[in-house]
């Protein structure tokens, strides 16, 4: 299992990387953490002609606040850093809770958030979270830059709205509002495996304890990460009791179209999505009330 030949350029500047990508388009790939790309190259499932190594572009790494209620994370930020940054848990509790489920420590030492999102594996945790939170992503090319809403970014299994000349440079996420609770839960065959199904949810309570805002995202429930719009909407204004949560879980089960795989049939995935949604909503509610 050795990769096919390719050209390798370690980019010295963002501009150089973008120019190369513009010149070579689909033939070229950015090399970030390499933890998804290199295995597929070793299997020769992917044979890019040119690898543009963006690891030297350290300016693309790091997290910074952006206004009062938003945060931006550079594409080259490694999961290892997010895991160890004490600032993450309070403002991005979903990210914090999901990180330990993503592969293993050695892999998170390399994995970048940009690579993980650009890879767009429907079973991946982070895309579902970005989608659930209503984040947006900044793409850049030699022609300029644009922001893409998470809802428009994930266009299919392993495909995104990025043009062949574009690089994902940054993600922007809303930080946890006050009186809110979040929960990420997944079922995987072994710890660190891709989820059979995963649920990310965030609940914000009104002054009177009713649900002010609800967001439910799912991974491995379809070709792309899913935002369960109807289920989320069904909770707003309600009490978040067992009945409301049950209804939302049932809506999730109704609305998803899980792919099914050798580890979980469509039916089992659908079943699990309901179970996990109910559990995650209950936990998020509990957390929101505690924060209250």
């Amino acid at each position: 299992m050795k990769p096919a030949p390719f050209r390798y350029v370690a980019a010295r500047a963002l501009d150089e990387a973008l120019q190369l990508k513009a010149a070579h388009g689909e033939e070229a790939r950015f090399l970030a953490g390499g933890q998804s790309l290199v295995p597929t190259m070793n299997f020769r499932l992917s044979q890019p002609a040119l690898l543009i190594d963006i690891n030297p572009l350290t300016e693309l790494a790091g997290m910074r606040k952006c206004g009062l209620d938003r945060v931006r994370i550079g594409a080259l930020t490694r999961y290892r850093e997010l895991e160890r940054d004490p600032a993450v848990a309070p403002i991005l509790p979903l990210v914090d809770e999901a990180l330990p489920h993503i592969a293993h420590p050695q892999i998170r030492n390399r994995t970048t958030i940009g690579g993980n999102l650009a890879h767009a594996d429907p079973a991946s945790e982070m895309p579902a979270i970005i989608l659930a939170l209503g984040g947006r992503l900044r793409a850049q090319s030699v022609k300029g830059e644009r922001w893409i809403a998470a809802a428009d970014f994930f266009t299919g299994a392993l495909s995104t709205a990025l043009e062949p000349d574009e690089m994902l440079v940054e993600v922007e996420l809303p930080t946890a509002p006050s009186r809110s609770g979040a929960c990420f839960m997944e079922m995987a065959r072994r710890h660190g495996d891709f989820a059979l199904v995963g649920v990310a949810c965030m609940l914000r309570l009104d002054e009177d304890g009713r649900c002010g805002e609800a967001r439910i995202g799912l991974c491995n429930a379809g070709d792309t990460p899913m935002f369960a719009a109807q289920a989320s909407q069904s909770l707003v204004g309600g009490k978040l009791g067992a009945a409301e949560i049950g209804t939302a879980a049932a809506l999730v089960q109704r609305d998803i179209d899980p792919p099914g795989n050798i580890h979980a049939s469509k039916e089992f995935q659908r079943h699990l999505a309901g179970v996990l949604t109910a559990r995650a909503l209950a936990a998020a509610n509990e957390r929101a009330r505690r924060a209250h």
Binding site: R189, R190, S265, H271
Partner: protein, 780 residues
């Protein structure tokens, strides 16, 4: 004997090399001018080969040679039948063995078609893409029952109904037992094993020395002596011209004993033809097709019992998937057939199996070697009986155990070693009792389980018993030699794959010769160091080679005493061997180091008496009169999430009897590893083939080996019933841990979810959350 190393938890001699990255594995062999092989493998399971065009590959830069079956000429021949069928009357056996490179037809995905030799593995893989192969696909034979029908395609055109073998064995009259029974249970069971998946895949390096007329082969084999003999025969060389080395091997578990893999035939031939060293290292993708596996059986079994749970008889008819070829004969299904009888008195037994050719990779023994399948069937039958007859699961087993005074106990059917299946010794009651005590069986059922259930925890207990035929013949040998520097060297013909032979053999010698274990250097798996032997399989290394080592060490001890007695002019009885020296008891200062004695045994000048053998060395062989029967019981407590069907192992205990224990540390390691593989088999690992014979999960991301988070903490205890069949009293332990996990797991999960009371049985392995959802999900 002065110090007692035998039985002590001695640290391993081989570890410092392994821990510092200095141990030689096959892929570490680097030779000047080496070429690297890559194989083009069939991507369909069953097809006629129309044409193969390798011209573009040959023309690629860096490629030195490309060969197909046609290029092998007369060298091309189907491989040998490694284990002929046992002499059982009325048996059908159709021998069809694998070929070096496919000719006319391909019979499973991954079967090699072409070999490319290039300056690097990277270039060799590049060239694979240049090869044009035209295959006319045929329907793939994948389902065991359908394979037998007249309408089925044939894996081998001349084998009707794809029957590789059919064997019936019986004792007593099952019909009579059934007629007399109070209760009869019949069920269908499915048991699928998996891929052994050692972390080191297979590999081979071959180097032809034209000046010395000698071939050296480094191979990840468990049987270097057979490899040498076979290669010599195939290549028209004498055995002395071939040296086979199995250096450090990164796990074997059975499939590395298979001979001859196509690569083992092609690589040495190419090295000789091109007069350059050639290396082939199997990659993980190849491992899923190119290395043998163990797979499924379907059993239709029936048990006849009395009202109080005594077994009167068992009838079993099963199908066994042998894959595209059957070079390993009947070992796996015979093991299933024999091991099914377990530690129980089964007065009548009628078992028939049909081994079926399919368009899937070859099946040969993998740790347990079919024993799991049999144990699963009998243990599940007994569980169902316990439920039907309202008996306790432990009690029904106890009632049926072979009593301790019944040994040797003859089951009257023929085992894989061609001898009647006879248990040498055993005492099963105390094993089960101890396991129950360790798991806290009574307490769990009476207090803990109801208590935890009330809190919403679905917990259950499972237990299973088994016996395992180990340490079978034919023989092994060993040479023990005292060196002039006082160290002792030991050589045997078996290969070692982590079982700690470097240390356990040293322990045996240390006690005989009074030397420190660290001063004993054990060499295994180099045919230039030891000429004869069979190999490491069937949990036999420690038993058979260990006893040969012991015999050789005993002779050396006698030589030492004789020579020292001459030296000190005293009686042998006055001598003591300890700490690397022989001394006269009670006479301080009268001592000679073993090294000095070894020098004396090889005088430079002067006359020796006629008949004197130089040196302090001896070569001895040991062949046991029959297999030694190890036994044990496992018990576990699981918790099942009734909604997600994730299973957590809360507690795991093992009680094991493998006779006398050489090194308890190494033994518990063997057991832990076996249990981990058993857990993988029970709940994580499954080779998923589609109806076209394509494996859908050929990667370690999808073929789920258990990690440190899936394997629980285990408690191991031993009982010792020494084997009367060898002087050391030992029995094999290599496979035991893996054997009974499946039935204990199924039983524990059933118990946790209260399935038996709802008429749901888990009569198949592997299970998975998805499968549990299908089988039991409705009852939420």
């Amino acid at each position: 004997m002065v110090t007692r190393n035998f039985g002590a938890p001695i640290r391993r001699n081989e570890d410092s090399r392994l821990l510092s990255g200095q141990a030689l594995f096959v892929d570490d062999v680097e030779l000047p001018g080496m070429l690297y092989a890559a194989f083009l493998r069939s991507n369909v399971a069953h097809a006629v080969i129309r044409s193969i065009d390798v011209s573009a590959a040959r023309a690629r830069g860096g490629v030195v040679a490309v060969y197909t079956a046609a290029d092998l000429g007369d060298y091309w021949a189907p491989g040998p039948l490694l284990v002929p069928p046992p002499p059982i009357p009325g048996i059908t056996f159709n021998q069809r063995t694998q070929v070096p490179l496919a000719k006319h037809k391909v019979r499973h995905v991954g079967e090699p078609l072409v070999v490319v030799l290039a300056q690097s593995r990277y270039l060799a893989e590049d060239a694979l893409a240049d090869i044009a192969v035209e295959l006319d696909p045929l329907p793939a034979v994948t389902d065991l029952e359908q394979a037998l029908s007249d309408a089925s395609a044939r894996v081998h055109d001349d084998v009707h109904g794809n029957v590789a073998a059919r064997v019936r064995q019986s004792r007593g009259s099952y019909a009579a037992a059934r007629a007399a029974a109070d209760h009869v249970i019949s069920r269908r069971f499915r048991y699928d094993h998996g891929a052994s998946s050692p972390i080191e895949t297979r590999g081979i390096v071959a180097s032809w020395d034209a000046r010395a007329d000698q071939l050296t082969v480094w191979d990840t084999t468990q049987a270097p002596v057979f490899l040498r003999n076979g290669l010599a025969a195939m290549l028209g060389l004498s055995e002395r011209q071939v040296r086979a080395i199995a250096p450090f091997v990164g796990g074997g578990f059975g499939p590395k004993i298979m001979l001859f893999y196509p690569e083992e035939v092609v690589v040495p031939w190419a090295a000789k033809k091109l007069n350059r060293p050639v290396k082939w290292i199997e990659d993980r993708l190849e491992h899923f097709f190119a290395t043998t596996q163990e797979r499924g059986q379907t059993h239709d079994a029936e048990i006849a019992l009395t009202r109080d749970g005594r077994i009167l008889g068992i009838r079993d008819v099963f199908l066994h998937d042998t894959g595209a070829y059957n070079p390993y004969g009947l070992t796996v299904p015979i093991n299933s057939q024999c091991t099914l009888l377990g530690p129980y008195v089964v007065p009548s037994y009628d078992s028939t199996f049909t081994a079926v050719f399919t368009n899937k990779p070859i099946v040969t023994p993998y740790r347990g070697a079919g024993r799991q399948h049999g144990v699963f069937v009998v243990e599940r039958l007994i569980d169902i009986a316990a439920h039907d007859l309202k008996l306790d699961r432990a009690e029904i087993r106890r009632r049926n155990f072979i009593p301790p005074d019944a040994f040797p106990y003859n089951n009257e059917i023929i085992y894989q070693d061609f001898a009647p299946l006879s248990y040498d010794s055993g005492n099963y009651g105390p094993i089960l009792d101890k396991a129950l005590e360790m798991i806290g069986y009574e307490h769990f059922l009476k207090e803990e389980q109801p208590h935890l259930r009330a809190q919403g925890h679905h917990v259950g207990v499972g237990l299973a018993c088994y016996v395992e035929g180990t340490g079978i013949g034919p023989y092994e040998g060993a040479k023990v030699q005292v060196q002039a520097n006082g160290k002792v060297s030991v050589a045997t013909g078996i290969g070692t794959q982590g079982q700690g032979h470097f240390t356990s053999f040293a322990q045996i010698v240390a006690d005989q010769l009074g030397v420190d274990v660290r001063d004993i250097d054990v060499v295994t798996g180099d045919t230039d160091q030891f000429y004869w032997g069979a190999g490491t399989f069937a949990s036999r290394g420690a038993v058979v080679a260990g006893n040969a080592v012991n015999e050789a060490a005993k002779v050396v001890r006698r030589k030492i005493l004789k020579l020292a007695a001459e030296h000190f002019e005293c009686a042998e009885d006055d001598l003591e061997i300890a700490e690397g020296a022989v001394s006269v008891v009670g006479v301080p200062g009268q001592a000679i180091k073993l090294g000095a004695l070894a020098l004396k045994a090889n005088p430079m000048r002067g006359a020796v008496r006629p008949g004197t053998e130089p040196g302090l060395e001896s070569t001895q062989y040991f062949g046991p009169p029959g297999g030694a029967t190890a036994s044990g019981a496992h018990a576990m407590i699981v918790e099942v999430d009734p909604q997600t069907f994730m299973v957590k192992l809360r507690k795991y205990v093992i009680v094991h009897d493998c006779g006398t224990v050489i090194n308890p540390l190494i033994l518990s390691g063997q057991i832990h590893g076996g249990v981990a593989q058993g857990i993988g088999n029970a709940f994580y690992e499954q080779l998923v083939f589609d109806e076209d014979g394509q494996l859908l999960n050929a990667s370690l991301a999808d073929y789920l080996l258990p990690t440190a988070l899936e394997v629980p903490h285990m408690e191991v205890a031993h009982t010792e019933t020494p084997s009367p069949l060898n002087p050391l009293g030992i029995k094999g332990a290599g496979e035991a841990g893996a054997i009974p996990v499946g039935p204990a797991f199924a039983q524990a999960v059933e118990d946790a979810l209260g399935l038996p009371d709802r008429g749901i049985e888990l009569n198949e392995i592997p299970l998975s959350p998805n499968r549990l959802f299908e089988l039991a999900g409705k009852l939420r």
